[in-house]
């Protein structure tokens, strides 16, 4: 006999197990319809790979795992997929979830599958892949994907592999019957698991209230590589953490995993599923489920296909719904009520409990807590439930956390012993949910805050960069202006031209002020200077075109403008000369009249323009732009035809592009003004 340890607290509720162990495990058969939920495990739901109307074979993958912590789902029998839709599922929340609905054809036709009788022929990765591909998730209740649990890192040493055959919860006998009838498979399954995690020792833990199971396991065990450990019955010995303490004396650190203390724990049902997956090549498509309670006339265990509606299974056990006050999936301590008997059996459905009102009465209203401390004595994790209750009532979340609320395993022992009928576990569940929600909200708020601050910082940085650029540009311009003044060449002809123009205008102004005595001279000077500027601009344009500079377009416009100015200056000069001649020498009047006419025409045009409505103005500018665009295009075409340097062509192309954009903008402008 191996020395076992005990854990704090625990209770001894009436076992009520004998009712369902009187007959062997029965085959529940094939129901007309199977409803297979995509999420029967902890982790990401599987993604369907079949569509309505598709025929599926027994064992065929109908949904693929998503991500690491996930398992596939298989068709439990052959038939036709009739829907992939949300259905009511057995979950504590009573919500709907995606399911694949299969109308069975009764032929139960298997997909091709092959087992590997000698599992040692496979390496660790291959075994893990098979376990995962067989859709095995913890069958004791939580449904954690087994392959994830078994994928022990190489640097972690596992001292103990525990096969959990405790089944401490009242009423449930699924594991008990499995051990009685399929002990050899459990042993082989345990050996496969041991081959995977390479533990120092392999233990099968069974409570002493299952003598038949213990005997069956002992009979099936043909070696000394596995030990069957029997320990006194106490609820909740079957809790993973409690069982680890019982068998090894170690406690899993709070918030940690069994592997942290060198332990891996698997349920006997999972061991059988692993056996079937590896040795027989069958995926997890059925399980043993206890149907019990005083509302069924023949309480017993069934081998039932996953997806079988509960109502179908209940009917097999002689269910009298009129007597039933609540339908529980799981046991009376940790099970939850299912919303409706149409929900399906899933991989974690170890028991359907259909009690009568006399059997599990409706809880009476809670009385005052008299701090009797029975709950603290019963708590298997040594919490102070009455303190937690006090804090939960006052919503003192920090105190709840300081009193280790999150170490509560929700076994229900405290509620069970409470003489005042206080639903303690419900308070804890609600508080946990509220704290988790608060944490999420807090994280969200924190995230938003960080994002907001980052944005402010970015805007500030951008603003600074802009300012710096502006300053740099200004500085460069000033430097160039100085250089120009010193007669040096310039990188920025426009800037330089502007500077020069400004300087000249200033000079001209002073010139006209000073030299009003001779306006003719001034006009002549203007013509000469305009001519000069036109020449310079033309030179620059040619230079830019040769360089392929971006400035070609701007320079072209500059040249045109200068040319226009020169024309104006010449006109003005011409208009002045006859006046001068009138006063002095009588000269030819016609050109002067022509100039006058031109001036008048220009003035009229300007006046007309001033009187234009916004839409007309816009239209005019659009027309102007279109003209310019056409011109640019022609130039580009010419240039291309002439086989100019690519740089020039590119520059012209850029001009065309820019003008196209401008035309586009002008069109939009026109559109808005017209619609306005």
């Amino acid at each position: 006999m191996m020395r076992t340890h005990s854990f704090h607290g625990g209770i001894h509720p009436p076992e009520n197990k004998h009712q369902s162990t009187r007959s062997p495990i029965a085959d529940a058969g094939i129901p007309p319809q199977l409803i297979v939920p995509l999420s029967q495990h902890i982790g990401a739901p599987a993604a369907p790979v079949v569509r309505a109307g598709e025929r599926v074979l027994k064992g065929q993958v109908i949904a693929e795992p998503q991500g690491l912590v996930s398992v596939p789902v298989h068709a439990p029998s052959s038939g036709t997929v009739v829907a992939v839709e949300d259905r009511l599922v057995p979950h504590i929340s009573g919500h709907t979830a995606p399911c694949i609905v299969i109308d069975t054809d009764g032929r139960d036709e298997w997909i091709a599958h092959q087992g590997t009788p000698d599992y040692r022929a496979l390496d660790k990765e291959a075994l893990l892949a098979r376990i995962r591909n067989a859709g095995i998730a913890g069958m004791g209740g939580a449904g954690f994907p087994s392959a994830v649990k078994l994928a022990v890192r190489d640097d972690v040493t596992i001292d103990t592999l525990i096969i959990n055959g405790t089944e401490c919860e009242p009423y449930i006998t699924a594991d008990d019957m499995l051990m009685r009838e399929r002990a050899a498979e459990i042993i082989t399954g345990a050996r496969i698991l041991a081959y995977l995690v390479k533990p120092g020792e392999t233990l099968i833990g069974v409570e002493d209230n299952k003598p038949e199971s213990i005997q069956a396991l002992r009979d099936a065990l043909d070696g000394d590589d596995i030990r069957i450990v029997v320990f006194p019955t106490k609820y909740p010995s079957g809790g993973e953490k409690q069982l680890i303490e019982i068998l090894t004396g170690k406690q899993v650190p709070s918030g940690g995993l069994p592997a942290d203390v060198g332990v891996v724990c698997q349920n006997v049902g999972s061991a059988v599923a692993v056996y079937e997956a590896i040795i027989e090549g069958k995926p997890l498509i059925s399980r043993v489920t206890t149907v019990t309670g005083e509302s069924v006339s023949e309480p017993q265990n069934f081998e039932v296909l996953i997806g079988t509606p509960m109502a179908y299974l209940l009917a097999k056990a002689g269910y009298q719904s009129a007597k039933n006050n609540r339908l529980i999936m799981g046991g009376p301590m940790m099970g939850f009520t299912v919303p409706d008997p149409t929900v399906p059996i899933i991989k974690t459905t170890n028991c359907l409990l259909a009690p009568t009102e006399a059997e599990l009465p409706t809880p009476p209203p809670a009385q005052a807590c008299i701090r009797c401390g029975l709950c603290a004595n019963a708590c298997p994790v040594s919490l102070l439930p009455q303190q937690l209750f006090w804090f939960a009532q006052g919503k003192e979340y920090e105190k709840l956390e300081a009193h280790n609320l999150f170490d509560c395993i929700e076994c229900g022992a405290c509620s069970y012993v409470c003489p005042s009928n206080i639903p303690l576990v419900q308070y804890y569940r609600a508080s946990k949910a509220e704290i988790l929600q608060q944490r999420r909200d807090h994280a969200k708020a924190e995230h938003s805050r960080q994002r907001f601050e980052a944005r402010l910082e970015r805007l500030e940085r951008e603003e600074e960069e802009k300012a710096a650029k502006r300053a740099a540009r200004k500085q460069a311009a000033e430097a160039r202006a100085r250089e120009d003044a010193g007669g040096g060449g310039s990188d920025d002809p426009i800037q330089a031209a502007i500077e020069r123009a400004k300087a000249k205008k200033a000079a001209q102004q002073s010139g006209t002020d000073a030299g009003t005595a001779n306006p003719l001279e001034a006009l002549e000077k203007a013509v000469v200077s305009a001519q000069k500027r036109l020449d310079t601009a033309n030179d620059k344009l040619a230079q830019a075109q040769a360089d392929g500079s971006d400035l070609v377009a701007a320079l072209t416009t500059g040249v045109e403008k200068t040319r226009a100015k020169l024309a104006t200056a010449q006109d003005a000069l011409q208009a002045y000369r006859p006046q001068a001649d009138d006063t002095g020498v009588a000269a030819t009047a016609t050109p002067a009249d022509a100039a006058q006419l031109a001036i008048e025409k220009a003035l009229a045009a300007r006046n007309a323009e001033a009187q234009l409505s916004p839409s007309e103005k816009a239209r005019a500018s659009l027309a102007n732009l279109e003209q310019r665009l056409q011109k640019s295009r022609d130039k580009l075409a010419q240039s291309q035809a002439a086989g100019d340097e690519p740089k020039i062509v590119e520059a012209l192309e850029a001009t065309v592009e820019r003008l196209t954009e401008k035309v586009e903008a002008a069109r939009k402008q026109l559109h808005t003004t017209e619609s306005a």
Partner: protein
Amino acid sequence: MLRITSPHAHGPLSTQRVMQTVLLATLPGVVVLTAFFGFGTLVNILWGSLVAVALEALALKLRGRPVGFYLKDCSALVTAFLLCIALPPYSPWWLIAVGIASAILLGKHFYGGLGYNPFNPAMVGYVILLISFPLQMTSWAPPRGVGEVPGLLEALQACFLPATYDGTTMATPLDVLRQNNSLLMEDLWAQSPVFGRWAGIGWEWVNIAFLAGGLWLLQQRIFTWHAPVAMLASLALLAAIFYDGGSSASGGSPLFHLLSGATMFGAFFIITDPVSSAVSVRGRLIYGALIGVLIYVIRVRGNYPDAVAFAVLIMNFAAPFIDYYTQPRTYGHKRAGRED
């Protein structure tokens, strides 16, 4: 169909049953008290219970609580029984009524009712009476075999027509011992008529009877052994240390202290009140042990007939503090998880 979350099963214990079991467990003590001191205690209990239930109902009604539902928990009856057992037999009706009112209203409902009272309500009532009416509260009738024991009619008369009743009273063994400063224990035992085999005549059997009731409660798992055993052990230990071989300055033998006054009654019926005591196992050991120390000190050095009530009230103050420092170590944690 019911839609509730786990657990669905519930144990057989209810608060009502706890209270009723406690009431039942007082019976041996009450019977022995009646046998030695007459019907006084019984009349106390009857009258006290009546007043307690009436006041409880009134308080519940005033506080807008369902009267029937809360009366069912029998906590008011338990308070009445405990206070009336502690009061001297043949107490006048008004004394009992004032005591019960103090216990039920001041000791319990003023704090929010059952479960919220920081002090043991019965002891609150007792101490208020002791301070307010010291004469009445220190008048104990002599036990059978020492003096005259009144009959049932006289007991009723003493209670309801106190002005017309003229009963005899006598110093209790604890008083006698405390006031002694000249005689050796042996001589005191020989000279004073109040002493019996181990302690006072009658008192020793009363204590044994309450011990029996208390052991039954332990067997019924109404409370754990920690606080009573710790209290009796520390009281006995201090008595043993200061026994002084039975000199005239002796504080009395351990057995004398264990079987005198309200020792056993206090150990099993008063300090085990869950509401006002410490909760954790270690906490209850400390709580009980310190009560034992206080009882001894107040008995021997103080000026009151007994010390249980004061000791309990003082430790009631300390219970939350003790709980704070005796939190158990939660599974998977390295240290006991205090709020740090």
